[in-house]
Amino acid sequence: MRAIVNIYLKDGVLDPQGKAVHHALDSLGFSGVQSVRVGKQIVIELKAADRESAMRELEEMSEALLANTVIEDYNIEIEE
C-alpha cells in the first residue's frame, strides 16, 4: 500500500519559509492569502498485513525519524 506522511512546523513555531512564500504571493497580487505553511510530503510504498499495522508502523517511523516532534507535527494518509 501507499502512504503519505505530511510534516509541518507546529502551530506557534514560526515558519520562515511559509512567511517568505506568503510575502511573495502578496507581491504577486494574491491579496486574499491569510497564511502559508510550507511542509514536507514523504510518500512511502510499504507492505503490511493490514491498514492498522501499517498505521502503527508509519507512526513509529514518523516519531523516530520523519518528523522532529520538538518543532514539527505530522499526519499520515494511507491510500488503498
Binding site: L14, P16, N68
Partner: protein
C-alpha cells in the same frame, strides 16, 4: 599543561573535521578522527567533538540521518556516563536531533545562508567549556550556517535559563543582543542540564589565529583543559 585525548567524529559530509584536528593539535592535545561506522571510541577519550559540515547532505533535516549512525549509540552512552561532548554547527544540530541537547535548529528566519564574523556574549561560564571567560565577555567567532534558528519551548527555555544552560547569545560589538537568524532570545550556544554536553552554531575552530580575524576560538577550546 594537561593534554587531552580528543576524538573527532566524521560522518559522510562532515567538512570541519580537519579544521577541528588543527585547532586541538594547535592547543597541544592528541586528536583522532573517528569514522561514524565505528562501534567504539578510542580508549581514554576525554572529549568527543562532533564537528561541522553537512552530514548526509542535510537530507530530511540537518543531523536527522547522522543521528542513527553506529557511533551515535556509543556517543550517547559516553555522554550519559558524564563524558564531555562538544557539537559545533552541524554537530550541534546532530546533538539536538539525538536528544542529547534540548530544542531544535530551524531554517534561518531570513532564509539566507549566513557566513561572517559574529560577536557573541558569554552568558554562563561556570562550565568546562567557557571557564576561560567572564560573564558578559564579548567575543568574535565566525558563523556559517543555513539552519541555526534555535527553537525551544518556553517552559524548557526558562528551566535552561535557571540552570545556567544558555552559554552564548548573538550580539553587536558593544554587547547589545541582536537577531542574527531568528533564534529564541538570540541563543547561539547551550549545554545540557548536567553540563557535559555543549553545542554552538559558531565555529571556534575557525578563530584560532588573529591573522585570520580572531583568536577567541583558541581561548574557548582551551577551557576543556582546565576541567
Amino acid at each position: 599543561m594537561k593534554k587531552l585525548n580528543v576524538s573527532i567524529l566524521q560522518f559522510p559530509g562532515t567538512n570541519c573535521d580537519y579544521d577541528t584536528v588543527y585547532a586541538f593539535s594547535r592547543l597541544g592535545h592528541n586528536t583522532s578522527i573517528v569514522w561514524h561506522k565505528e562501534e567504539s571510541l578510542p580508549e581514554n577519550t576525554e572529549l568527543v567533538v562532533v564537528p561541522g559540515g553537512f552530514s548526509y547532505g542535510d537530507y530530511l533535516r540537518c543531523g536527522a540521518i547522522a543521528r542513527f549512525s553506529p557511533i551515535m549509540k556509543v556517543l550517547r552512552e559516553y555522554a550519559e556516563n558524564g563524558g564531555m561532548v562538544l557539537g559545533i554547527c552541524n554537530g550541534f544540530q546532530i546533538l539536538t536531533e539525538a536528544g542529547l541537547l534540548p530544542g531544535a535548529l530551524k531554517r534561518n528566519d531570513k532564509l539566507h545562508f549566513i557566513s561572517r564574523h559574529q560577536h557573541l556574549k558569554v552568558v554562563s561560564c561556570k562550565n568546562a567549556f567557557l571557564n576561560r571567560f567572564k560573564e558578559g565577555d564579548i567575543i568574535n567567532i565566525p558563523i556559517a550556517h543555513h539552519d541555526g534558528n534555535y527553537y525551544v519551548d518556553e517552559e524548557t527555555l526558562s528551566d535552561m535559563e535557571q540552570n545556567a544552560q544558555i552559554l552564548l547569545r548573538y550580539c553587536d560589538e558593544d554587547g547589545k543582543e541582536m537577531n542574527v537568524n531568528g533564534s529564541v532570545r538570540h541563543i547561539a550556544g547551550i549545554c545540557n542540564r548536567e553540563k557535559n554536553v555543549y553545542g554552538l552554531m559558531p565555529h571556534p575552530e575557525r578563530a584560532m589565529e588573529s591573522i585570520l580575524g580572531s583568536s577567541d576560538g583558541e581561548r574557548m577550546l582551551e577551557g576543556f583543559r582546565y576541567e
